[in-house]
Amino acid sequence: MHNVGIITRRELASYFATPLAYVFILIFLVLANAFTFYLGGFYERGQADLAPFFTFQPWLYLFLIPALSMKLWAEERKSGSIELLMTQPVKLWDAVLGKFLAAWAFTALALGLTFPLWITVNYLGSPDNGAILAGYLGSLLLAGGFLAIGSCMSALTRNQVVAFILGVAVCFAFLLAGFPLVLDVFRSWAPQVLVDAIASLSFLTHFESISKGVIDVRDLLYFVMLTGFFLLATAVALDLRKDL
């Protein structure tokens, strides 16, 4: 576990060593606010809550998270630094986890910087702050799931653009798993059990219940397991072929 911390710190520092961190945070905040106020109709609704903010989170993440995660492993492969990292006395899993945690902590920071919205809504009325906290928790879990998928896609290639496109595609499929767009593909030939199983994998269904303030253990477990699964897949992809 000691090495996880070392790797996480190095990764986090590397975000801020380039303009990446600042550009990401700026775009994230601008888009989050634009979605909330213009598309979400924050004022027009006349309700003191952050529902318009959380509703658009998944769509914001769909493009921004793969942009963040695409470099996790593809860049290491491209620059060759993966050979340096993998020949240190570090367990593969420590490296996978360390890099993921750095990206997740960074997303948490970006998400945390939306706090003026929370202040605004408290200034304008008296919202259910418990529900807002649950919304933030759900959003963080969702970001974790997206990041884990992105990490896995990044481990498959040395090309960051490919990693980005794969990341967006897989995240999109998981986002809409509960909707006809995805389910119709399976309905014609797969048994109902499978269709139901796929539907239950939907990010949106699980995210929406949490963001409404309903914290169900099943929803939490879903995100934890999905994240764990894709991190494990990342490790397997790396182990199969380190010298891609």
Binding site: R10, S79, G80, S81, E83, L84, T87
Partner: protein, 307 residues
């Protein structure tokens, strides 16, 4: 001790490394030679635990690189080909990061960092990001990370590639200084390096070991081994010299370079021809600029056995 046992790596149909077995003991500096694409880097990557062997095994200080990978990696300092690193980090941060991964702590961490920074002359660039460094400095940063934990075994893939002659000399001095207490394997395609630092050389071609010998032993395989080369003061004497040397019974062949006004006599197997040739030169009245005995030409041996 480094040990490989029938080490083999296939990439699809391509046999990158094919049944390679050797051992390297303490005090040895093994030079790994071969044409580009011969399998040097793949072999080193397997030793470093970066690439898994298709079959066969390798161990570092008794730790199998596949089944006891962490212990093997702990005993090893490794410079990957091209000395990759994290370009956005400063030299100091990068070395500290590696020191932390290597588990160095407290006073020892400080002492080891100071040691490698001093030895590789990195003090002037500590605050610079690695991206902004010249090729020579990057290579030295790569060497510094390989030795920061003072490992008993060092594997360096082309440690002097891209360095200028002064820097090459410094790196070779560093390797020679460490050679007494460590096991060192370096890969190179610079043959002068073998003479400068190696106690033993393995030549690899198309994934297989084709020679395993001391540098002197390899040179002795050259047809120039014990040849006598003379440079004439006057090019007009070239033909006289050639004819005279060729008449000696122990001379197998004579080569003439008109550009250098040089005549080289190759001996018959086992024959020593230095004395007869020098006497002959005096007797025939040749005006010599220079006369010397050749040890053998490594580049010629290299070309002969890897072709």
């Amino acid at each position: 001790m480094i040990k490989t046992d029938h080490l083999t790596k296939h990439y699809g149909q391509l046999k990158a490394v094919d049944d390679v077995s050797f051992q390297v003991g303490p005090g040895e500096v093994l030079g790994f030679l071969g044409p580009n694409g011969a399998g040097k880097t793949t072999t080193m990557r397997m030793l470093a635990g970066f690439v898994a062997p298709t079959s066969g095994s390798a161990s570092i200080c008794g730790h199998d690189v596949a089944t006891d990978a962490l212990a093997a990696k702990t005993a090893l300092g490794y410079l990957p080909e091209g000395a990759p690193s994290y370009g956005e980090m400063t030299v100091r941060r990068f070395l500290e990061f590696i020191a932390d991964l290597r588990g160095l702590e407290g006073a020892r961490r400080t002492a080891r960092l100071d040691h490698v920074i001093g030895n590789l002359h990195l003090a002037g660039v500590l605050g610079q990001t690695i991206d902004t460094l010249s090729k020579g400095f990057r290579r030295r940063v790569g060497l510094a990370q390989a030795i920061v934990h003072d490992p008993p075994v060092l594997i360096l893939d082309e440690p002097t590639d891209g360095l200028d002659p002064n820097q090459k000399h410094e790196v070779r001095t560093l390797i020679n200084d460490m050679a007494r207490e460590k096991i060192i394997v370096i890969s190179t395609h610079i043959l002068e390096e073998v003479d400068a630092v190696c106690t033993r050389a393995i030549i690899i071609a198309r994934g297989r070991i084709v020679a395993d010998d001391t540098p002197a032993g390899l040179a002795a395989r050259s047809r120039y081994h014990n040849a006598v080369s003379m440079q004439l003061a006057e090019a007009s004497q070239l033909e006289t010299a050639r004819a005279a040397v060729a008449s000696l019974p122990s001379v197998a062949a004579v080569e003439v370079s008109e550009r250098e006004a040089r005549v080289t006599a190759l001996p018959k197997p086992g024959a020593l021809i230095f004395a007869p040739v020098s006497e002959l030169a005096a007797r025939t009245g040749l005006k010599l600029k220079e006369l010397h005995l050749e040890a053998g030409r490594l580049d010629e041996v290299f070309r002969t056995i890897t072709a």
